[in-house]
């Protein structure tokens, strides 16, 4: 039986079969290789079983369900796992990013509940690059507590013609169109980043220098629809040390309302310019460094440096008007619109965060001038000192003569009053000590005193002037 050969298996048939087997094997191998190299090839889509598509063995969820009454925002959001959307509009902000990220790392609100959204617009520097590198670093951090929630970097260029430098940014004429563009950027950012699971939205400028790490909780505790802290900025000593910065948080005044009625439809009232004297009470000026940080003040216009708002405010349609809304635009218009829709808008006069100080062109000029004056003064002092030295050298003989005479007199006196030595010697010594420096410095002293006096008198009115002018380059 072992030697039985089926009748049909002639060598020809066997060869053919072997060929068939080989072809079959080759095709299978090709198929397998193909499947592993192109797991998403279209021929296999009708055959898309889990095993072969090992690269993407996931299922899609296409339906999302959200109940908005779960995301109303409460006073203790961190306990209820309420998500915050942190919005940051950026433009040529590279130099400020490292400072911003140090703040970001320090927030005490649970990071996984904070979603970050950045809008990078019309930037000519490396803002985008630095930003994404920093964010990647945070998400790759070994410490899980550092990781943030959803992170979106949105690019959109609006083709802004207005330059962002301090001077042109704060010029009166440029204000209306600048504010409208800013508003547009904010709206684009918000509409692209707001999700149905957000309870809060926090707007933060990138150039905040100092703020409490607990700022989110601190503002949230008040449980208001819209809330802002007071924003000041530090100044160099010659400008007074500190100064209110954000003048956009204010209470409406009768004067301003009357003024608004006289303006045309597209006009925008901006605070802090002599052109529009509104006599509004500003949050910034009401600060008392020792006041209760929890004190609240109802306001109508808000500044955009640091706004915490309930997400429902934005969901219901309040936004940053990029047109003249009740004669206001951007954040001030936002405050106005929130009030129009019966939301509470509140400022904290004694809870202060600090905006960075960027010297204005005037400041820089003045600082250069001061530097020059300082150099001139030093030069002058040096010259005076040299002159004194010269004089000393020139009249050096007299001085030594004087010394000689003195010592001689001394000797005589010592001889004469041997009984009173104890009292007289120190007295003379004191007199000597006084006499010498007076003479040596005598020539230089008056001139020096003059310059010293000159400096403050020259500075004082200037500083006052600067302070007045400062109003203009503040966040307005």
């Amino acid at each position: 039986m072992a030697r039985f050969q089926p009748r049909g298996t002639t060598p020809a048939i066997r060869r053919r079969r072997r060929l068939l087997v080989r072809i079959g094997l080759a095709i299978t191998v090709c198929l397998l290789i193909g499947l592993f190299t192109w797991p998403s090839a279209s021929i296999f889509s009708l055959y898309s079983f889990g095993l072969f598509s090992s690269g993407d063995d996931f299922q899609l969820e296409t339906v999302r369900y959200y109940d908005l009454s779960n995301v109303q925002g409460t006073a203790r959001g961190w306990e209820r796992e309420e998500r915050i959307l942190l919005c940051v509009p950026l433009r040529d902000a590279e130099p400020h990013l490292s400072m911003f990220f140090s703040h970001l790392r320090n927030f005490t609100y649970p990071h996984h509940l904070i979603d970050l959204a950045f809008l990078v617009s019309d930037s000519k520097d490396r803002t985008l690059e630095v930003l994404s590198n920093n964010l990647e670093m945070i998400q790759a951090d070994e410490d899980d507590l550092q990781h943030y929630g959803e992170i979106s970097i949105i690019e959109k260029d609006f083709g802004q013609k207005v330059d962002q430098d301090v001077e042109s940014r704060h010029g009166f004429a440029a204000q209306a169109s600048r504010r409208k563009l800013m508003a547009q950027a904010r709206n684009w950012l918000l509409s692209a980043a707001l999700r149905p699971y957000h309870s809060w939205v926090y707007w933060r400028d990138v150039d905040v220098e100092t703020a409490p790490f607990t700022i989110l909780e601190d503002l949230m505790r008040h449980n208001k629809d819209v809330i802002v802290p007071n924003v000041w900025r530090p100044l160099p000593d010659w400008l007074g040390g500190e100064q209110p910065y954000d003048l956009n948080s204010w209470q409406e005044s009768e004067t301003a309302l009357a003024l608004a009625d006289t303006l045309d439809e597209d006009a925008v009232i901006v605070e802090g310019y002599a052109e529009y004297a509104t006599w509004r009470p500003h949050l910034a000026y009401l600060r008392d460094p020792y006041g209760d940080p929890d004190m609240e003040m109802e306001i109508d216009g808000v500044g955009g440096v640091s706004i915490l708002a309930k997400a429902k405010v934005f969901r219901h349609g309040v936004h940053f008007p990029a047109f003249s809304f009740e004669k206001h635009a951007e954040t001030e218009g936002f405050g106005k619109m929130a009030r129009r829709m019966q939301f509470s808008v509140v400022g904290l006069p004694h809870y202060t965060i600090w905006h960075m100080y960027e010297p204005s062109v005037d400041d820089i000029k003045h600082m250069e001038q001061m530097e020059q004056e300082k150099l001139a003064r030093e030069q002058e002092e040096k010259e005076k000192a040299e002159k004194a030295k010269k004089m000393k050298e020139q009249f050096g003989d007299t001085a030594s003569q004087w010394e000689k005479d003195k010592s001689e007199m001394h000797n005589i006196a010592a001889k004469e009053g041997k009984k009173e030595t104890v009292e007289t010697t120190p007295k003379n010594k004191v007199a000597d000590g006084q006499a010498v420096p007076v003479k040596a410095a005598g020539a230089g002293e008056p001139a020096n005193g003059q310059t010293k006096e000159k400096a403050p008198t020259k500075d004082a009115p200037k500083a006052a002037q600067e302070k007045g002018a400062k109003k203009e380059d503040r966040k307005i």
Binding site: V63, S152, A192, R315, F320
Partner: protein
């Protein structure tokens, strides 16, 4: 049976049978490993987000390990400079967001939606429903239909993503009945609530990739299947179709149609004069006899000139929300549905005004008709 059978069997199993067996094994393994539910094609998977925290206009990958430690969300880049809005949206693969505030579910609405010929993998649907008894019933109905389409329907019918929202405020009127809903004194509260619902829906779903937003009311049960393409063809920032209603004309003893949406209009001096005499919180309403505004209503325009050219455009000052296609940029700039009197206008009419203040002009197609449900 003492004879060794082994070698015989071994000899009989040729390589061909072995190969076949291997193939079969792989096939069976595939069946075992792959889950039973059919999934989406690779092109759809490519556009999916990798994390549930992502724009809701895209589907996301269900996490395979629910117990395991999840990775932090990635840093997502969106370049809005590359989001095109053109008159030929299919060719450019433009995403469209269809938004519908829904109080009642009509099967006709859903069927009509499925008939839209715009590629469904570019369409995201967004719904907002009130949290009352009627809303719950509608949600259940809607979810049933969605499950049928998205899970077991043919892939070409399935939409890219669907978002269902429940309102966070109570509807001001207990009843959605036609008569009650249209009473004049109820209008302001009703439309203010409607505006809030529309804004809530819009601003939480718009996301970074949407090109067009189509506002389509839940009671639109009939429209041309090419609705989106036809409206987009005009390349207008806001463009409204004309909303009609089919009814049985008892005089003519046959089915007939009548104009339904009166919120598409061109302003009139009379209306402006009325507005100028109003208090800051009063609103102008259209379609009520005791407030004659003499505005030119788009609803009546087709009957004037026979209504044959469906691509005839008219500029509008007020729009309705029944079937309105809006460029996403208009909404991104901040144009929303005012829930408060804005130039004495509210909701969709106020929206047209706000868009105009932002430099976007509304238009309408008087002869391009969609049909409203008849109660």
């Amino acid at each position: 049976m003492a004879r060794p059978m082994g070698p015989v069997r071994l000899k009989k199993t040729s390589t061909l049978t072995l190969a076949l067996g291997a193939c079969l094994c792989i096939f069976i393994l595939c069946f075992l490993i792959s889950s039973a539910t059919p999934d989406f094609s690779a092109s759809r998977k490519a556009t999916a987000a990798s994390h549930p925290l992502s724009p809701p206009t895209s589907p996301f990958r269900k996490s395979s390990s629910p117990g395991g430690k999840s990775k932090p969300p990635p840093v997502a880049h969106y370049n809005l400079n590359n989001v095109t809005i053109t008159s030929n949206p299919i060719e450019h693969g433009e995403n469209i967001l269809i938004l519908t505030p829904m109080a009642r579910f009509y099967q006709g609405y859903w069927d009509n939606l499925l008939k839209l010929s715009y590629p469904h993998e570019l369409i995201t649907l967004g719904f907002i429903l009130p949290k009352n008894k009627e809303g719950n019933a509608a949600t259940t109905e809607l979810q049933k239909q969605i499950a049928r389409t998205q899970k077991s329907g043919p892939e070409k019918d399935r939409f890219k993503s669907i978002i269902i929202l429940r309102q966070d405020f109570d509807p001001p009127l207990p009843s959605q009945d036609e008569g009650e809903r249209h009473k004049m004194q109820n209008q302001k509260a009703r439309r203010s609530a409607m505006a809030k619902a529309r804004n809530s829906l819009l601003f939480t779903t718009l996301g970074p990739s949407t090109s067009w937003v189509l506002w389509l009311d839940a009671d639109i049960i009939e429209s041309p299947p090419t609705l989106i393409q036809d409206l987009a063809l005009h390349d207008k920032p806001l463009i409204a179709a004309n909303c009609f209603q089919r009814y049985f004309n008892t005089e003519k003893k046959k089915m007939d149609e009548r104009p339904y949406d009166f919120n598409n209009w061109q302003d009139s001096p009379t209306a402006q004069e009325l507005a100028s005499k109003m208090g800051p919180d009063d609103i102008l309403l259209e379609g009520y006899a005791d407030m004659a505004t003499y505005r030119a209503l788009m609803a009546y325009m087709p009957t004037i000139d026979g209504g044959t050219d469906i691509h005839q455009e008219v500029p509008l000052d007020g729009v309705g929300g029944t079937a309105l296609l809006v460029k996403a940029d208009v909404h991104r700039d901040g144009a929303m549905f005012p829930a408060f009197p804005f130039y004495h206008l509210i909701e969709t009419e106020g929206f047209a005004k706000m868009a105009k203040r932002l430099g976007w002009q509304a238009s309408g197609l008087p002869n391009y008709k969609v049909y409203h449900y008849n109660e």
